[in-house]
Symmetry: C2
């Protein structure tokens, strides 16, 4: 398998899907539509929609109901970054080498574009009802909304913001990692499984795998912020320490963090291998995500 080529094909496909689903930029409310597009079409890795689609494929999903949800999860991810970057939160003027949304469009439009993307994600996901009128879409919808909200991503974000610069215990650190990063990976993979008609047990199983993948991914992020270089990473290293962020490396040191990544990702891959289906690309993608150098 030419993994890089396969990955590029999938990333391009997600970009096309987003182009298709993003609103046309006309009408009196044009500015917010432009700001939405600016926020979403910014060269992200498209990891979450790809994980969703590959899990859908793993369980032999075929109706295409996954497509609106793939666009929706990337919109959710984008809005969370737009709001994270706001002056009252991380106050980041730049993201991925260009101005963050509020820096480009003003703070009021940053807030509104984030709201708009969050709402439009649900509007977009609802298109799946027209593709598959069966019960899977409703079930996916409920799970998706739960994982993006107060018991998922937003919950993690809240605790992260509240504890910044304060000493916290390992339980709280784990809560932040599991929710802020993990919940959206869970949303991606579990939604893919549900839409493909996987059984409840299989969906739970996929949820555990996703949580491990999210956790390993986040610890790897913490490690790279210490061990990589700004050139390789494409963003400033050492920012966690500078911003007094609570990270795995800060609490447990580099060696323990590295062994945790190994342990957690092995567990995820073993579970994945025990499922009655296989998707070699998904397995390889997970391996590379947790062992990435940037």
């Amino acid at each position: 398998m030419d993994f890089e080529k396969e990955l590029k094909d999938r990333t391009d496909r997600v970009d096309r899907l987003l182009e298709k689903h993003l609103p046309k930029e006309d009408g009196p409310q044009k500015t917010v539509l432009e700001a939405m597009r600016y926020s979403v079409m910014s060269g992200g890795k498209r990891l979450r929609p790809i994980l969703m689609d590959e899990t859908y494929t793993l369980f032999n999903g075929s109706t295409g109901s996954v497509e609106p949800f793939m666009a929706a999860i990337e919109m959710i991810h984008s809005y969370s970054l737009v709001h994270d970057d706001l002056p009252a939160l991380d106050n980041d003027e730049y993201r991925r080498g260009r101005k963050s949304t509020h820096a480009a469009y003003g703070e009021a439009m940053g807030i509104l574009a984030g709201d708009a993307l969050l709402n439009y994600a649900f509007e977009t996901a609802a298109l799946a009802f027209d593709i598959d009128p069966g019960p899977c879409v409703a079930k996916a919808f409920s799970l998706f909304a739960k994982k993006t909200g107060i018991y998922g991503m937003i919950g993690g974000q809240v605790v992260d913001v509240e504890t910044e610069g304060r000493q916290i215990g390992p339980d709280t650190l784990r809560f932040i990692h599991e929710k802020k990063t993990g919940a959206l990976i869970e949303a991606a993979m579990m939604t893919g499984a549900i839409l493909a008609g996987a059984s409840d047990d299989q969906v739970d199983n996929v949820g555990s795998i996703a949580l491990d993948v999210g956790l390993a991914f986040q610890i790897r992020d913490d490690i790279l912020d210490v061990t990589s270089t700004t050139e390789v990473l494409g963003k400033p290293v050492g920012s966690d320490e500078k911003n007094n962020k609570n990270t795995y490396v800060k609490y447990f040191g580099l060696d323990k963090a590295e062994s945790e990544v190994e342990h957690i990702s092995e567990r995820a891959l073993t579970s994945l291998a025990s499922l009655p289906y296989e998707n070699p690309f998904l397995t390889e993608l997970i391996k590379r995500l947790v062992h990435r150098k940037k």
Copy 2:
């Protein structure tokens, strides 16, 4: 009919419904859950959920699938006020006689509590799938998300923010009123009709009525800001002029605004009377909304 008593019963019922659906305030993310409750349980009129429920009743809805949507629309209304009040938008420190959410919980938590309410509204509405597994809930979901988003409420808010203090034409003024206020009234009444199983024609009809009700309600709001007193209204009058807001009164004068309210509300009531069902409370509610003194 003892209208005031009937209205109070309905308002109390919505409050109980919101209490039931708001998340329990425990867990590491407690602060955002408190801020959500603070924002929602603030003595609002509960107009939108009541309009939704009365329209549902009008079309003989009976499964109870309307209840999660009633809670959801009030959450959407609440989040829109929380974000409206933020320093980058209207910068209001007070709302309904007490601190606005960001003033009470800090700006970061104001942003996150708004996001949380928006997301939780969809999470809550999705509970309706368990009550009614038929196609009505999916249809209601799509309409609801459309009316709250960029082609509805958020669209109106964006144009309102962008045109503040600038001269605009009557078309833009109408766009703002129809979207910022009207779209959520449409969402309320159309969702009620859809969930009750009304036909497409009937739902469209209800949409036109709702748009008229929203427009008349908003023009009345503009009028009261000029003609009422702070004591009667319970909030400062003259704030539109002070904030250089584009209002119906500013563009057309008081007399024309008053005759528009009459004309539009008469049209709405005539359409309502032409439906094959009737709900005397709904008719009376609409009459009072457009002729209210506060």
